[in-house]
């Protein structure tokens, strides 16, 4: 069995082995192996290519950009997604604009250990995909399976554009698969995580699994829920979403992020604009609450969508 975290490590290992242009840069990622041990043993295996960085997110991303201009393929680890705000300027103003301005691509990957885990509180729990997806020039990946964590990270490194790779901390050790995939869907293609006919849930990352559990629960009521795992939120595979809504006529979009704007709003806006006639009920969204992510496990569980909250929201949608 291989975990989501091990899949990420395996992808980094393979990228380092296959491509001399790849190097890793981030806080504590060297001999220590990173805060989550994603890079465990990689520094020893690839001397001089897994580098500890000072506590300087702006400089970490800036260094990656300069190295990318010079033809390297840097992969940056943020210790937590939340700290990427300190590197935000380099990501959105430098990396994201470089190709458009200069025709020189910026093939960097910024790995964001994202999302909530119990007890992590406001500054170690955030989901930042919408923030980065807002910016032209960035690709934003949100893998929700072990297979995707592996193959999408390899794709991210191979792409010529800057990629924000949102890996979910809750999935790190919880999610396991038999083996690593050989082939996978192309970048930017969504996946049907579950077939159904009564309603479509569009989601990504850890919420795929909460939604799958909700769909299981709803089979008890005789409902078959279809689940679309977006995989990348930018580019956004509107075609797969619309095709599913065409089958079910109902849409619920679920994310773990804050509710104002964001990926779920983007999906609803696109379906409303391009597939209004397919809808039998108003499209719905379920996100986290509009407060910082709370620390206490009871508050945290109520703050983010859970399987039972998703099941309730889906029931309401089915009754509309």
């Amino acid at each position: 069995m291989i975990t989501y975290l091990e899949a990420i490590r395996a992808a980094l290992d393979k990228a380092l082995a296959d491509d001399p242009r790849v190097f890793l840069y981030g806080q504590d990622i060297g001999s220590f192996g990173g805060a989550f041990k994603v890079t465990k043993n990689l520094a020893a295996k690839f001397p001089g290519r897994v580098l500890d960085a000072p506590l300087s997110e702006d400089a970490i991303v800036g260094v990656a950009i300069g190295a990318a201009i010079e033809g390297m393929r840097p992969v940056v680890e943020m210790q937590f997604a939340d700290f990427s705000t300190c590197g935000f300027n380099q990501i959105v103003n430098h990396a994201a604009t470089l190709f458009y301005r200069t025709e020189v691509p910026c093939p960097i990957v910024v790995r964001l250990p994202s999302g909530g885990t119990s007890g992590s509180g406001p500054f170690h729990s955030q989901s930042m995909e919408a923030l980065y997806a807002h910016y032209p020039g960035l690709i934003v990946m949100t893998p929700g399976t072990v297979e995707d964590a592996y193959s999408m990270l390899l794709e991210a490194i191979a792409l010529d554009d800057p990629v924000i790779f949102c890996e979910h901390k809750f999935l790190y050790n919880h999610l396991k698969a038999e083996k690593l995939p050989g082939q996978n869907l192309p970048v930017g293609k969504a996946r049907l995580a579950r077939h159904g006919r009564d309603a479509t849930i569009v989601t990504y990352s850890a919420m795929v699994h909460e939604s799958l559990a909700a769909a299981e629960e709803l089979t008890g009521d005789g409902y078959e829920i279809e689940i679309v795992d977006l995989r990348t939120v930018k580019p956004l595979d509107t075609d797969t979403v619309l095709a599913s809504v065409a089958r079910t006529g109902r849409l619920l979009c679920v994310s773990e992020a804050f509710p104002w704007g964001g990926v779920s709003a983007e999906v609803v806006a696109r379906v409303a604009a391009e597939g209004f006639g397919l809808l039998d009920a108003p499209p719905q969204r379920l996100n986290a609450k509009d407060t910082p992510v709370p620390y206490h496990p009871d508050l945290w569980t109520a703050h983010r969508p859970t399987a039972s909250a998703i099941a309730s929201a889906t029931r309401r949608l089915l009754e509309m």
Binding site: F23, P54, A59, V63, I65, N89, H94, R101, D160
Partner: protein
Amino acid sequence: MLLARILEEKLASLYRAGAIHGGVFLGRGQEALSVSVGSNLRKGDIFAPLIRDQAGRMAFGDTVLDTLRTYLGSQLGSMRGRDGNIHRGRPREGYYAMISHLGAMIPAVCGALMARRMRGETGVVGATCLGDGGTSTGAFHEGLNVAAVEKLPLVLVIANNQYAYSTPSNRQFACADLIDKAAGYGVASHRVDGTDLSACLAVLGVAVRAAREGGGPQMIVGDLLRLVGHGEHDDASYIDPRLKASPLGRDCVKVAESFSIEKGWATAEEIAAWRAEAKKEVDATAAKVRREVSPDPGDEEWSAISDTRLADNFLEA
């Protein structure tokens, strides 16, 4: 240096004539320091200039033609109308295109130098410039620290021109001297009279050589005064007249010209002829560029993504 001065005078007049969209930010008074950076670098080095570095840019290989194309929004310029004025470069040639955010180029040059080192290249120098105000940014701190930790051949040139837009130095930093900042990072420092071309050339020569030979990052502070507004929209009425009258307020071009005459390197007539020649080149190039095509929104590739495999997915916006 003289060509940069004359080109910038042309930019100012084009701006006043309404021929330039957006701002014009000039380096008058800072040419001696700037040109000394560019002329101490060589092909294969990296240079990330900033706002007031027309002279250094040209010494590093930028041209009157591409400068005017970028300012006048010609489709043929290196930025193709997608960016303008000082935000230009050719990163593939080691000539980086600044983003506006002050300090941001320092870590990028560090990364470039780390990449060169990983690939086994030696003897490379990466230089970048900043103002006194830019030393207050987090990026300055983070970048200089990374350069020191990684012992990179970075040359950071601070044009200490006494103001950041309207903000005087006493509202910008409280250390006795800007140069003190370098010691805190373990970075070697140099100071120079930024109005004196021969001093600037010499000090930059020493600093660039030290970086090239493995001496680690070098910070240079050049003291001078901005002899124009922050941009051409700004009358700079806030500048203390006592500073203008002080040695800091000397015009580095005039200083260099008198020095050359004094040394017998050139006569006043020869200098006048160089000026006339530079003016002719600048005027002719501007006239030509003004007839060039602007970018066409209908033909514009409205994509910020380079990977063609993904282009289709982004067309839907």
